[in-house]
Every structure is written in structure tokens, then in C-alpha cells.
């Protein structure tokens, strides 16, 4: 009953949204793990948090679209009805306690309707319950360092692949040399900090964005429900190359993750030099990012 009512409201709203141009949550069933051309809404959810964000968006959009349409309709009706031509003699009404009470009380009630699911979402997305695994992401100018403390401190850097090295099927400005590989259907806690200035770790399809702040250890979490590669970009101004330190997360099956860990331990141990130094050398050459 409630559900069908909501879907009806939603379908009305979707029709409006096409003209009013509000956010739609992506009607086409594509596996959008990054943005699509001419996209108008959120990326498709890959985690429970993002599903809730979208559900909340679907609740709030009919409300705010309705408010907007109501106010504009009232405004233009007033302009039409009380134009100089149609109403040559103005009234002197300056008070009406009833309508003033209504237009104060009604918005408060609407806000309460919005606030309750909003708080639910806020508390749900805040912190992982019983995380199965931890990843640490460290923001640097201008790349991310990842640590897997549960796997013998596996550590590597993720530096953006420059435009000239992009291969067919890769996305410009979104691909990194090393992806953050994680298992599917696993609650993963992400700890964040930064080594120099502020950065922000974002994966839109996960509904996550948390700042990486020097001297602080911030926390967020995700539980990816679909395999695939997910992309995000640093979301706090961090200097000249702010637009060039993407976040690339590859969600794989648990078995594939186990074999990746074995391989990665070898590969990143073979690096010899501490990864950060390698990345800095790459940055210093200046040719990596263009």
C-alpha cells in the first residue's frame, strides 16, 4: 500500500523531473560504475549505503519538486490574477494570522518528514558494524597510498595513468597504475589520513566521501555488492594536481581477492624502495601527469 503509493508519487515525479530536470536515479539499467555521458542522476548504487542515499533522494525529490512547483504556480497565478489590468484597486490587507501560522507550521512538518529518514541514513553510513577487513588510505600530493594491515602490511601507491598511456577501454583521469582490490560482499572499514594537505577519498557508487586530514584518522566503510571497477576522484582542493589523483577500486570475488593478495605481496615487496619514494620520483619527473 505505502509502497505502491510511493512508486506512484515517484512516477509522477519522474515525469516532472524530465522537464523540471531534477535528479533521477538513472532509469536505464546500465552497470554504471562511473558516470555516463549526459547523466543527470546518481551513479548506480554498489553498496547498501548508496542504495539508502538513493532511496532518500527518491523521498526528498518529490517533496522539493512539489514545493518548487507550488511556489512558482502561486507566484505566477498571483502575477496574472492581480495584474494592474485585472485588479486596478489594490487591497490593504497586511495580516492574516491563519495563513501565517500555516506557512510556518507546514514547512516544519515537512522538515520533520525529511529529517527522520535523514538521521537514519546518517547513523547507518557513519560506521561499519563488525568490519571484516580494513584498508588504510593515505592522501599525498598527488596520489593515494594504500595499506592492507590485515595482510602483513601490504602497501602500495596508486598514481593516475597519464593520458598518453591510457589504453582502449580505460577511462581518462580515472585509472590508476595500481587498483585498490577488495573482495565482494565484505564489510570493509576504510581509515583515512593525509601526509601533507587535505584530500578527500570518494567513490560515488559507494556513497562515500571522507576527508583525509593530516594528523587525524577518519573512518568510513563500504560493502560492495557487485564485482566491477569503481571510480572516484579526490574531492578536496589539494593543489595543482588536485584533479589528477583518482580513486580506483576493483571489487572481485573472494577467491580472486585471495590470489591477488598473494601476487600483490610479491610484486610490492619486489619494489624494494619504499613505495612513496618511487611515486615521488615519478612525480618529480613531471612526465607522469600531464
Amino acid at each position: 500500500m505505502t509502497l505502491s503509493k510511493w512508486s506512484r508519487v515517484k512516477s509522477v515525479w519522474l515525469a516532472v523531473a524530465a522537464t523540471a530536470g531534477s535528479l533521477t536515479t538513472g532509469g536505464v539499467a546500465v552497470m554504471a560504475q562511473q558516470a555516463e555521458p549526459w547523466q543527470t542522476g546518481f551513479q548506480k548504487a554498489a553498496t547498501p549505503v548508496m542504495r539508502d542515499v538513493i532511496a532518500f533522494n527518491d523521498l526528498i525529490h518529490p517533496i522539493i519538486t512539489g514545493i518548487l512547483i507550488f511556489v512558482l504556480a502561486l507566484l505566477f497565478y498571483t502575477l496574472y490574477r492581480f495584474s494592474e489590468k485585472r485588479n486596478p484597486e489594490p487591497t490593504k490587507t497586511t495580516h492574516n494570522t491563519l495563513v501565517e501560522v500555516i506557512w510556518t507550521a507546514l514547512p516544519i512538518m515537512i522538515l520533520i518528514v525529511i529529517a527522520i529518514p535523514s538521521f537514519k541514513l546518517l547513523y547507518f553510513q557513519d560506521r561499519a558494524v563488525d568490519p571484516e577487513m580494513t584498508i588504510k588510505a593515505i592522501g599525498n600530493q598527488w596520489y593515494w597510498t594504500y595499506e592492507y594491515p590485515d595482510y602483513d602490511g601490504l602497501t602500495f601507491d596508486a598514481v593516475m595513468i597519464a593520458d598518453e598511456d591510457i589504453e582502449e577501454g580505460q577511462f581518462r583521469l580515472l585509472e590508476t597504475d595500481n587498483r585498490v582490490v577488495v573482495p565482494v560482499d565484505t564489510t570493509i572499514q576504510v581509515l583515512l589520513t593525509a601526509s601533507d594537505v587535505l584530500h578527500s577519498w570518494t567513490v560515488p557508487a559507494f556513497g562515500i566521501k571522507v576527508d583525509a586530514v593530516p594528523g587525524r584518522l577518519n573512518e568510513t566503510w563500504f560493502k560492495a555488492e557487485r564485482e566491477g571497477v569503481y571510480y572516484g576522484q579526490c574531492s578536496e582542493l589539494c593543489g595543482a594536481y588536485h584533479g589528477f589523483m583518482p580513486i580506483t577500486v576493483e571489487v572481485v570475488s573472494k577467491a580472486a581477492f585471495a590470489s591477488w593478495v598473494v601476487k600483490a605481496k610479491e610484486e610490492f615487496a619486489l619494489n624494494g624502495a619504499p613505495p612513496t619514494t618511487v611515486a615521488l620520483a615519478k612525480m618529480a619527473s613531471g612526465k607522469e601527469l600531464k
Binding site: V53, E89, L121, F171, K209, S235, L237, A240
Partner: protein
């Protein structure tokens, strides 16, 4: 003896000793002349800020680097300067220094501002501030720190002198605004004509009073914060340096404790103007005057306790985020009261669609849209997805930029006849409105799509998927800029060939005191103290 000195003082005043030439402006203690200088300054700086935005919209027109090559820092410098200039050198000088200075004394029946010399220094402090800011663009790597100047990017992240110049300029602009605020508060409290009680004051004067208090209480906090930046940068303190026990997030708290009231500073004077204009052209007194006054006061008060809604992602405790969600939502209530009261003022009126009212209607449309996206963003849960994306850029341009800008234009068309004695060209003014309205909507509406799809703010190049809407936004910005050029033509035509107007060009709906004076008003106005019944 007393009598005699008094006599000679009066005699001295009788000749009106109007200075001429450069002395009239540089030494000016006249609220109208200072107001005019503020308005000219705002127009010039608005064009500078507009050109900056045109430059980065050209760069963002297509994916890949179009014009700046690999000078990504230059892009950051442009967006930072655009924000700072538009906030501090366009909207604030236009409304507070410009229309506020011009109209507050006229509207309350005062001969001038309370502290005319302080008024002079308020304006002239802006010039060195502008020199420092515009100069900083050409010094070293420039100030690519955003208008928010978050540490540590603004401390260890930018070693050159450019950021110091921004900080010193901000100090000067802040001092200018604090002095201006003191002047307005004193003037409004002490210099009202007999009979004009606080509850009879025109709403524009009320809006300036609330704005002045917001400035007076918030700017010292900013001054403290940027002084700490300055000492962190140059004198070895570590307020915001985590490696020495400081906290970068502290800067954000201090900045937004100023920054959030600041966004109301930008829009509140406009709220006042909107009420005046609607009442004038509906030929009807403002509906719910007291409600409007207390809505503005409560917006001002609540504006001080919602600052951390700009910081939902910094890692604050979830309970404090929940508080800021609730407090922020509450602001929608007084804002809604204002929108509904404006419509109710028109309801039952006899509405004449003159240019100033058209701008106010444009404002209500844009502001309501920006308002509802604000309600959406106030929810920390969904803000997690939208924070620092183009959705936020769209939101705040609809509210404090387009909203404020439309009301500045409304004020200009409403009062230019009074200020100059000449009427604007009607047809060009209409064209100016439509070009601007279409331009800004094409520019900023698609930004909501980009933000929802995940495009971060402040990036010089973007993934190819974002190309389409960015192209649309860029085209919109060119149209908007054409609108700005049209405005310059309107100003030119008004002064060169505008028809002369009488004392009250708008008729009986315009019943505030400035319409009892000649157009333009005499150099010293209200030769006789007006009395309010």
C-alpha cells in the same frame, strides 16, 4: 559664547562647501558620493570576476586542457580569485557600501551616515585590498587555495608571498566591512527621523541592520583565523599544523563560523530590497511586516549556529553532524516565511510589471530553486554523496550568487532614477534581464547533474563522461557574460540619454522617504527633518 560658535558653524554649513574634482571623491564624507564610488567599484570588480569565470569556463568547455596547458595551478588561482572577488568586491560593496550607503540615510530621514569620515576610510580600504588581491595573481605561483583558504594548503602548501597578499587584503576588506557595519548600526539606531520607530523602519533598513550585526560579529572571527594562518606561514606558529599539535580542521571551524553568516550578509540586503520593490509595484504595504522583520533576525541568529554543515565530511562525530542537520533545516522556515510573505504582498495588489519587479520575480524563482536544493544538501547523509561536487556549486550560485546578483540589478533599476535623475532605457533593460536569466540558468542548472553524477569541484580537466553538461554550462556562461556587457550599455545609455525623472517616478506605491526628495537628491539631503506620523 556658545550661541556664537553655533551661529558661525551654521553659517559655515550654509554654503554647502561642495568640493570639486578629485577632492570631492578622495576626501568624500558624503554618503551619496561614497555610495557611488562603492557602486562603480562593484561594477568594475564584477566585470573582473566575470572575466575570470569566463576564462575557466572556456577551459572547462571541453575535456582535456584547452588553453592553460599543464598550468593547473593557474586554474586554481582563477577559481579562488573569482570567489573572493565576487563575494568581497562585488556583492558586498554593491549592496552594503553602495545601495546601503545611498539609501539608508535617505530612508530614515538622516542627513548622512553617523561617521562620515569612517565611511570614507571604509571605502578607501578596499582599494589597497583590491591591489593586493589582483597583484597576488601575478606573484609567484598565485593563490590557488580556493576562497575558503583551507589549511594546510594555504600554509605549507603555498610557500610564496601570494597567499600572504590574499590574507592582508582580506584583513583590509574585513576592517572596511567592520567599520561600515559600525557606521550602519550607529546610524540606524540613532539618526532616524522623529516618529520612525524601529517597527516603522523600511524593511531595507532592517535588512541592513541585521546584515551589519552579522558582519560585526563574524568578521573578527575571520580576522583571527587568517591572522593565525599568517603566523603559521611566517612566524613559526602551528595552529593548523598537525605535525606540531595543531589541527587543520580548526581553521575550517573558524572560517565557516564567519563564512556561513557571510552568505546571509550577501543575501539579506537583497531580501530587504525585494520587499520594498514588491510593495511599490503591487501598490500594497508589505504583508506581515513584523513577521518579515523577525524572519530576518532569526535567519541572522540561526546563521551563526549552522556553520559545520559545510564540513560534514571532515570526520566530525556523528551526533554533532545530526545537530547541524537539524539546525540547518530550521533555516528553511524563516526563509519560507519570507517567500510566502512576498507572494502574499502581491496577492490582492495591483501589480505593475516594471523592470525592477521583473528582476525580483527572477530572484524568487532562482532563490526558491536554490533553497530547495539547500534543504536537500542540509541532510548530511545525502551530502556525503554531493559534498564538494558541482551540485554544491550549482546550489550556491542559485542562492547567494544569482539570488544576490538579481537583487542588485533590481536595486539598480529601482533606484537609478532616484540616484542619477535619469531613467534607464526600457527595452535594453528588458533584454538585459532575459539574456541574464537564460544565461545563468543554462550555466548553473546542468551543474546539478554533473554533481550528482560525481564530478568534483575545482578540477581543471574532467573525465570524458562529463563533457556534455560542461559544454552546456560554458555556453550559458558566455550568454551570461553577454548579459553583463548589456548592463554596461544600459548604464551608459542611462547616463547619456536617459529621460529625466521627477521626485517619485513609481507613483503612490513608493512611499519611503527617499521618494520625497528630488532626483537626484541634493548634495546634502533632508534639509528639513521629515516627520513620520
Amino acid at each position: 559664547m556658545n550661541d556664537q560658535t553655533h551661529e558661525s558653524a551654521v553659517a559655515g554649513h550654509d554654503d554647502h562647501h561642495t568640493p570639486t574634482g578629485w577632492r570631492r571623491w578622495l576626501y568624500s564624507t558624503n554618503h551619496k558620493d561614497i555610495g557611488t564610488m562603492y557602486l562603480v567599484f562593484a561594477i568594475v570588480m564584477g566585470m573582473v570576476g566575470g572575466v575570470l569565470s569566463l576564462m575557466f569556463r572556456l577551459e572547462l568547455q571541453a575535456p582535456g586542457m584547452q588553453y592553460f596547458g599543464d598550468n593547473y595551478q593557474f586554474f586554481n588561482v582563477l577559481i579562488s580569485a573569482h570567489g573572493l572577488i565576487m563575494v568581497f568586491f562585488m556583492v558586498m560593496p554593491a549592496f552594503i557600501g553602495g545601495f546601503g550607503n545611498w539609501m539608508v540615510p535617505l530612508m530614515i530621514g538622516a542627513p548622512d551616515m553617523a561617521f562620515p569620515r569612517m565611511n570614507n576610510i571604509s571605502f578607501w580600504l578596499l582599494i589597497p585590498a583590491a591591489v593586493l588581491w589582483i597583484g597576488s595573481l601575478f606573484v609567484g605561483e598565485g593563490p590557488g587555495i580556493g576562497w575558503t583558504a583551507y589549511a594546510p594548503l594555504s600554509t605549507s602548501g603555498h610557500p610564496g608571498p601570494a597567499v600572504d597578499m590574499i590574507i592582508l587584503g582580506l584583513h583590509l576588506a574585513g576592517a572596511s566591512s567592520i567599520l561600515g557595519a559600525i557606521n550602519f548600526i550607529t546610524t540606524i539606531f540613532n539618526m532616524r527621523a522623529p516618529g520612525m520607530t524601529l517597527h516603522k523602519m523600511p524593511l531595507f533598513v532592517w535588512s541592513m541592520l541585521v546584515t551589519a550585526f552579522l558582519l560585526l560579529l563574524s568578521l573578527p572571527v575571520l580576522a583571527g583565523a587568517i591572522t593565525m594562518l599568517l603566523t603559521d606561514r611566517n612566524f613559526g606558529t602551528a595552529f593548523f599544523d598537525a605535525t606540531q599539535g595543531g589541527d587543520p580542521v580548526l581553521f575550517q571551524h573558524l572560517f565557516w563560523f564567519f563564512g556561513h553568516p557571510e552568505v546571509y550578509v550577501l543575501i539579506l540586503p537583497g531580501f530587504g530590497v525585494a520587499s520594498q520593490i514588491i510593495s511599490t509595484f503591487a501598490r500594497k504595504p508589505v504583508f506581515g511586516y513584523l513577521g518579515m522583520v523577525y524572519a530576518m533576525i532569526s535567519i541572522g541568529v540561526i546563521g551563526f549556529i549552522v556553520w559545520a554543515h559545510h564540513m560534514y565530511t571532515v570526520g566530525m562525530d556523528v551526533d554533532i553532524r545530526a545537530y547541524f542537520v537539524g539546525a540547518t533545516m530550521v533555516i528553511a522556515v524563516p526563509t519560507g516565511i519570507k517567500i510566502f510573505s512576498w507572494i502574499a504582498t502581491m496577492w490582492g495588489g495591483s501589480i505593475r510589471l516594471e523592470i525592477p519587479l521583473i528582476w525580483v520575480i527572477g530572484f524568487i524563482v532562482l532563490f526558491t530553486f536554490g533553497g530547495v536544493t539547500g534543504v536537500l544538501l542540509s541532510n548530511a547523509g545525502i551530502d556525503m554523496a554531493l559534498h564538494d561536487t558541482y551540485y554544491v556549486v550549482g546550489h550556491f550560485h542559485y542562492t547567494m550568487s544569482m539570488g544576490a546578483l538579481f537583487l542588485i540589478f533590481a536595486s539598480f533599476y529601482y533606484w537609478i532614477g532616484k540616484m542619477s535623475g535619469r531613467q534607464y532605457p526600457e527595452g535594453l533593460a528588458k533584454l538585459h534581464f532575459w539574456v541574464t536569466f537564460i544565461g545563468v540558468n543554462i550555466t548553473f542548472f546542468p551543474m546539478h547533474f554533473l554533481g550528482a553524477a560525481g564530478m568534483p569541484r575545482r578540477i581543471p580537466d574532467y573525465p570524458d563522461a562529463f563533457a556534455g553538461w560542461n559544454m552546456v554550462a560554458s555556453v550559458g556562461s558566455y550568454i551570461s557574460f553577454a548579459g553583463a556587457l548589456l548592463f554596461l550599455i544600459v548604464v551608459w545609455k542611462t547616463f547619456t540619454s536617459g529621460a529625466k525623472v521627477g521626485n517619485n517616478q513609481w507613483g503612490e506605491g513608493a512611499n519611503t522617504l527617499e521618494w520625497t526628495l528630488t532626483s537626484p537628491p541634493p548634495f546634502h539631503s533632508h534639509a528639513e527633518i521629515p516627520r513620520i506620523k
